[in-house]
Symmetry: C2
């Protein structure tokens, strides 16, 4: 599949690299066409890895991962232009963390709205799926590193969710729960404060949440 990965940080690199390893053609997008991080990443990952602007990476792909910092996500979409995402599956991995008041960060959006919903509003023709935002980026593409956590998926379009679930399975995820429409992204984004407390207590990021005890309705 042709996949755009917007963001050149740890998350973009982890997801982009895994996608190339799985045989996908990946364009890493950034503000400028010659971002040095994206350049190094593309060079290291061979002929199926390339770089471009946010717009290039979205426009030339069938599916787009949003891997920028949450505070930047809506601006990145705007700079790429909604047309580049037309009808596409857009996987939002970002969290609306607000570092402006010090540590630990709070959320920029929560409770009665979510970043996932705002992305869907900004891209009405796209099929936004929120997922992977509840674990560290190394676990996103290698969940076995943290036992067997559960991955959660939110989105309005069932086909788009099926496509994303297939990708998640190829990343190694075995236990995947479809939470419902994009509004349920509120729940996974609001998991971040707990994630941050656990990180502080555990001392590393290789942990995850497993939903236990569930069975068919009685």
């Amino acid at each position: 599949m042709k996949i755009g990965v917007l963001g050149t940080g740890m998350v973009g690199e982890a997801i982009g690299t895994k996608l190339v390893q799985l045989g996908h053609h990946v364009t890493m997008g950034s503000r400028t066409p010659d971002n040095p991080n994206a350049g190094r990443w593309a060079k290291k990952n061979g002929v199926n890895a390339s770089q471009g602007t946010f717009r290039d990476a979205a426009a030339m792909s069938e599916l787009v991962f949003l891997c920028t910092k949450g505070e930047a996500t809506l601006g990145v979409i705007q700079s790429a232009g909604a047309a580049a995402f037309q009808e596409k599956v857009v996987v939002d991995v970002s969290n609306p963390l607000d570092f402006s008041h010090g540590l630990p960060p709070s959320l920029l959006i929560c409770n009665t709205d979510s970043l996932g919903e705002q992305v869907q509003k900004a891209l009405p023709s796209a099929k936004v799926v929120k997922t992977l935002n509840i674990v560290n980026c190394e676990l996103m593409v290698d969940p076995a590193k943290a036992g067997e956590p559960t991955m959660l998926v939110s989105g309005n379009d069932p086909e788009a969710k099926a496509t994303v679930v297939k990708l998640l399975k190829s990343f190694g995820w075995k236990d995947i729960v479809d939470l419902g429409d994009i509004k349920t992204a509120r729940g996974t984004e609001m998991l971040l404060p707990l994630w941050l407390s656990l990180w502080n207590v555990i001392g590393n990021t290789h942990f995850g949440f497993k939903i236990v005890g569930r069975r068919k309705s009685e």
Copy 2:
């Protein structure tokens, strides 16, 4: 131990009953001294179970469980009077759910504050511990019903947390994580939107969250 349970709903009944079964002396508190739910509960649970006002239940106990609806918690504390909680361990089990805008509920307080913190502010000499608020009340006192979920504990006072952890173990909890001070209650209260989505998907309330993959810091 002499324990007060404030609240006569499902949560108060589940916790009160378990505490009596474990040999504690429990007073169930409500707005009036003759609340019929509390009366039925006391009659059913024998000589170690009694009823009284919120103030009675708090004042005559060494440890107090707050089992009212989250929207009522601060009012209940006020009506009982802070003196009744002086220096005591106060276990806040309530969640600040806001049903005023329909279903699913949002949170009345979140992100940069929590109900746990507000309870601690209202009762500065008490040792507030937030816990159990992340599972259904049947699981609170019988976690084996949902596999082996993790229980999370937040509070400023280490001794109070140790007392509560001991109680949790007597309820059957095996995997208990101390998240840190009462501010970390933000994380467990903000888990509620996800809990509600999962309830909707799973179709019953017998599920929990297990923190997997954690190990000592590298």
